[in-house]
């Protein structure tokens, strides 16, 4: 350990910015090894790691601190679990003058492991399938296709889908004078890997549909520079932020496993656009007056932004068999541009004893200046076939004006009530609604009347009205496209929080949240959503050797939505009610999500100052209920009703249970050295009739026909993992 300290001292001395300093180092280091038993290679278990799923692993944590002089410091922290999962941060500076931060991080995101794929070239923008497979599938009949596909998939290669994130950042916070501060920083991230991606070959339906691996090779760079003057009379600041996103791949092309040659209905090679390079630039100015009477403050903030994206456009289609190929483009680049402007004026004051007021005005505009992109009739190709309908892009610009007034009054010692009213008026150019008006009212109460109790209550009521028209055949949108975010909405919300700690060894808290959104003008689409959350927890110490902390949270979310089935055989889809019943083209869905999360932490001091045991466990049990309702069509005729049957509700939807348990025994060998033994258990189960029941890479109908998509079965799988770990910690 002495040699380790010496080595660290030398390392720090090499980084010293002032010679002749004393580099006494303190800190702690922990090293450990772990053994995994069970599904340690499972992608969901390793979702945010980047290990290789092997049954053994090691980890280390290091914290260093050094004060080379009374007013200077150096810190370092390192956390590493595998070679591909680490977090290194270091900061140094002079107290009250400057601080320099440097950080490096690497971690991953795992999506799927060991999936079967016909494709070669994972991780690149060109995915290929042997011509022999394409040729075989192209000439296969509907009855032989499934078995041929299963045979090809069965002998296909395996792949993992995951990506790695590497981040580096550096920042400097500098105070050259007491009233002046400067902040500069830069952050860079590289994302590299693959993730699941659905891809089509043109014709509608799922029989020309595959799941591929989207190549990820992103670079994101963010910089910020700011300066702020804070004097006794006023403060002023300027700030600039720039974000640059670069994608090494503009598109991904992928062979069609079902076709070797182009056909009018489907291409032999598909090609999708990937996330384009883009840039966001923001510049802000702030001013505040601080020397106003009655503890008042007046501030003004302006933030102006420019977002641009100007990638080269791909051809509308690469299917040589479609009429009109190749298709000309009205322009060769995207030319997308959005300007934003946020201007805020805020006044706070205490005009009388115990009275606080706030007035706020905010003007927020988002102007999309992208020139409209139009493809003429006969050119538009979204399914690799030209169509008679022209299509033009639509962009929405908005201006929002918010005015808010809030007041709070201390009605008693450590007890205050507050009330606020706000109006938000928005205008839109493009989109469904041309204007919106929302009034928001809030009431709140907060009290710490007794030192051992805190109670907070808040109520909110919001009424939003828009001019979003209800259904007409001529409104130009797709029939019955009902955008709930543009529709009139009434919201009510209540929150109650209470904490009590009547004695030194007991603390309890309770929270209740209720909220409901109603869409009074929406005959279709989302019509209502409500949620409730109840949480309770307790911290109890039994003497000085036992602490128990149980907690429980229950959540309930309900939604109601209504849709109307569109059937091509009926000219006017606005079907009338029949025999006093709701039109048989309608159907209703009520969803209910429930979540139960009990948790418990127990701490035991087995031998005072020597041996401690801490156990933490939680269970999260989620479930979704789907309840459909639909009147059956006249005589059950499908011509009148797209689904002429009484719907059956699924048994399972997003029903999962996640169990996490960790128990750690810590033995203090001496004041600066401890040994630990730990056990961890994690289990995740899932049931979902839509996504898991019967899923295979080659789905078929009841009659054996291939129904698609041809997939890699990348859904997260259940897992069960036991982990035993030992570690040693040394403090120096």
């Amino acid at each position: 350990m002495k040699k380790f300290q010496t080595l660290l001292s030398l390392l720090l001395a090499a980084l010293a910015t002032a010679p002749g300093s004393s580099w006494a180092v303190s800190g702690d280091v922990t090293v450990g090894v772990a053994s995994f038993m069970g599904d340690q290679n499972n992608a969901k278990f390793r979702e945010y790691n980047y290990g290789d799923g092997s049954p053994f692993g090691a980890y280390t944590k290091l914290n260093l601190f050094s004060a080379p002089s009374e007013d200077r410091f150096y810190k370092m922290k390192l956390s590493a679990r595998t070679p591909e999962d680490l977090d290194l941060g270091t900061e140094w500076g002079t107290y009250g003058t400057y601080k320099f931060d440097l950080g490096l991080r690497r971690f991953g995101h795992n999506f799927a492991e060991g999936v079967s794929t016909l494709y070669s070239g994972f991780g690149t923008d060109h995915l290929t399938i042997p011509n022999s497979i394409q040729s075989t599938m192209q000439s296969a009949s509907t009855t032989t296709l499934p078995s041929l596909l299963r045979s090809a998939v069965g002998s296909a290669g395996k792949a993992d889908l995951r990506l790695r994130r590497d981040q580096a950042d550096a920042s400097l916070a500098w105070t050259p004078k007491e009233d002046l501060s400067v902040d500069v920083g830069i952050n860079y991230e590289k994302r590299l890997g693959t993730r699941p991606y659905g891809a089509t070959f043109g014709s509608p339906g799922t029989t020309q549909l595959v799941e591929i691996a989207e190549p990820i090779n992103y670079d994101t760079t963010r910089t910020r520079e700011g300066m702020e003057y804070t004097g006794k009379v006023f403060s002023a600041g300027v700030r600039h932020e720039l974000s640059l996103f670069n994608n090494a791949y503009r598109s991904v092309s992928y062979d069609n496993p079902f076709r070797l040659t182009d056909a009018a209905a489907a291409a032999a090679v598909g090609r999708n656009a990937l996330a384009p390079d883009n840039m966001a630039n923001h510049f802000s100015v702030s001013l505040a007056s601080k020397a106003l009477p009655l503890r008042s403050r007046l501030s003004a903030n302006a933030i102006m932004g420019l977002l641009k994206q100007n990638d080269d456009l791909l051809p509308p289609s690469n299917n040589t068999s479609t009429a009109g190929y190749p298709y000309p483009l009205p322009r060769s680049k995207a030319g997308a541009e959005v300007t934003t402007g946020l201007y805020d004026f805020r006044f706070t004051s205490e005009p009388a004893k115990k009275l606080h007021v706030k007035a706020d005005y905010r003007y927020d505009q988002r102007l999309n200046r992208t020139p409209a992109f139009s493809l003429a009739a006969g050119q538009w190709s979204t399914t690799d076939s030209s169509t008679a309908a022209a299509v033009t892009s639509e962009y929405v610009s908005s201006i929002e004006r918010k005015t808010e007034f809030e007041t709070a009054y201390d009605v008693a010692a450590r007890t205050s009530v507050s009330a606020s009213a706000a109006n938000i008026h928005s205008n839109f150019n493009g989109g469904s609604a041309k204007k919106e008006n929302e009034n928001i009212y809030k009431l709140g109460m907060s009290t710490q009347k007794f030192s051992w109790t805190t109670l907070r209550l808040s109520l909110e009521r919001s009424l939003k009205s828009t001019d979003y028209p209800d259904y007409t055949a001529a409104d130009g949108e797709l029939p019955w496209l009902r955008k709930y975010y543009a529709a009139s909405k009434n919201t009510s919300r209540a929150v109650a929080m209470a904490t009590v700690d009547p004695t030194d060894n007991l603390a309890a808290s309770l929270e209740y949240i209720y909220g409901v959104d109603k869409y009074p003008a929406s005959l279709f689409g989302l019509q209502k959503g409500d949620h409730q959350t109840v949480s309770a927890d307790l911290d109890y110490s039994l003497g000085s050797r036992v602490t128990i902390s149980p907690s429980y949270t229950f959540e309930l979310y309900n939604t109601r939505q209504e849709s109307r089935q569109w059937t091509a055989t009926i000219g006017n889809p606005f079907l009338p009610a029949y025999n006093g019943l709701d039109a048989f083209g309608n159907w209703t869905l009520k969803t209910q999500d429930t979540s139960h999360t009990p948790a418990l932490t127990v701490g035991l001091v087995l031998i005072p100052e020597k041996l401690n045991l801490k156990t933490t466990g939680s269970v999260t049990k989620d479930k979704t209920r789907l309840r459909f309702a639909s009147p059956v069509g006249i005589g059950g005729a499908t011509g009148n009703d797209g689904n002429a049957f009484v719907p059956v509700n699924p048994n399972h939807a997003d029903a999962s249970t996640l169990i996490a348990l960790n128990s750690f025994l810590d033995y203090k060998v001496r004041q600066d050295l401890s040994l630990g033994l730990g056990y961890s258990y994690q289990r995740w189960k899932v049931k979902d009739d839509f996504m898991y029941d019967g899923v295979t890479e080659v789905p078929v109908s009841g009659s054996g026909a291939f129904i698609g998509p041809l997939n890699m079965n990348t859904l997260y799988k259940p897992y069960n993992v036991h982990t035993v770990y030992v570690q040693s910690s040394y403090r120096f």
Binding site: D87, E228, R482
Partner: protein
């Protein structure tokens, strides 16, 4: 002594008593008014409060000499006020001078915060006044620790423990199967929120929800050739950032989430319940082919926006 003389004596005595009482009270008030508390220095404070000696290692004690020209000797009284009367009371709580000291944790929240705001009224704390935490009776001391060791909020690994003292619902949500990597230690609450107050809603670190999300998810920022309006307006239209039982942090299961807007246009309007006509078959075979596996996202992969000329339906 007759009645008139007795009344005179009583009146005079009363007047004398009242006068003496007034004189004594005035004298006492005068003595209190004129005896103001004065600074005594940190060494005197530590003579009784030795357990606070660790403040010497606090960042305030380290930074003040250079940043604010406040020496360590002046540090205690910078926040707690002059301590001579309090020290003179020598622990006697019945002595009125004992309370002649500022005890932030017993002060009303806004007054306690005002002590901190004397210096911390800039940068990330600029919009504290009038912010949602201040309005709901939260003070700096609700989250930050100056005495008695390590400030959890400033340690990334433990910061969310402080937030979860109140936000119990969020503590449960991050334990759901689809979540941001907060339990894994890759993120913390302050990566998205500035609890000190912001110009926008939900205490987001950037001015809007979307700008905050785009810090990490810049590939979704666009602007795109084909814009998906609910995406451009607010990521919360489809996602719930703290945790969800539905994949991809969605607020509702697909395809039903999509159908909450696409409520009748061609195949989006199809009723994707189970068909009873073929009992015994698996769900793939009993429901619409567009509800299975990843539902709408099987085809509409570029759901956040597309830059493909043929991407109007986000399939390209």
């Amino acid at each position: 002594m007759n009645e008139a003389e007795k009344r005179n004596i009583f009146s005079v005595s009363t007047l004398v008593f009242i006068g003496a009482a007034l004189a004594a009270a005035t004298s006492l008030r005068a003595s209190t008014d004129t005896v103001k508390s004065e600074s005594i220095g940190a060494e005197a404070c530590l003579a009784c409060h030795a357990d606070k000696a660790g403040f010497k290692d606090n960042i305030h004690a380290k930074a003040w000499p250079r940043a604010k020209k406040i020496s360590f000797s002046e540090s205690c009284e910078t926040c707690h006020g002059p301590g001579s009367l309090h020290a003179a009371a020598a622990g006697d709580k019945t002595n009125p001078g004992f309370r002649a000291i500022l005890i932030p944790k017993e002060m009303p929240p806004e007054e306690a915060s005002a002590l901190c705001l004397k210096c911390h009224d800039k940068g990330n704390q600029t919009h504290w006044r009038g912010g949602v935490h201040e309005t709901h009776g939260v003070s700096c001391l609700s989250c930050h620790t100056l005495h008695g060791g390590h400030d959890k909020v400033l340690a990334k690994a433990a910061a969310e423990e402080v937030c979860f003292q109140c936000h119990k619902d969020v503590q449960a949500q991050i334990k759901k199967s689809s979540h941001h990597p907060i339990p894994e230690g890759k993120m913390t609450c302050s990566d998205c929120h500035n609890p000190h107050g912001t110009l926008g809603d939900h205490l987001m670190v950037e001015n809007t929800v979307n700008d905050t999300c785009f810090k990490c998810h810049a590939e979704k920022r666009g602007p795109f050739l084909w814009e998906h309006r609910p995406v451009a307006e607010n990521c919360d239209n489809c996602h719930t950032p703290h945790g969800s039982s539905h994949g991809k942090l969605l607020v509702e299961k697909v395809p039903f989430l999509c159908q909450s807007c696409h409520s009748g246009s061609q195949h989006p309007g199809t009723l994707y319940a189970l068909n009873p006509a073929t009992p015994g078959a698996n769900t793939y075979q009993r429901s619409g082919t567009r509800a299975i596996y990843k539902a709408c996202l099987n085809c509409h992969s570029n759901i956040h926006g597309s830059n493909h000329p043929s991407g109007e339906r986000f399939t390209r």
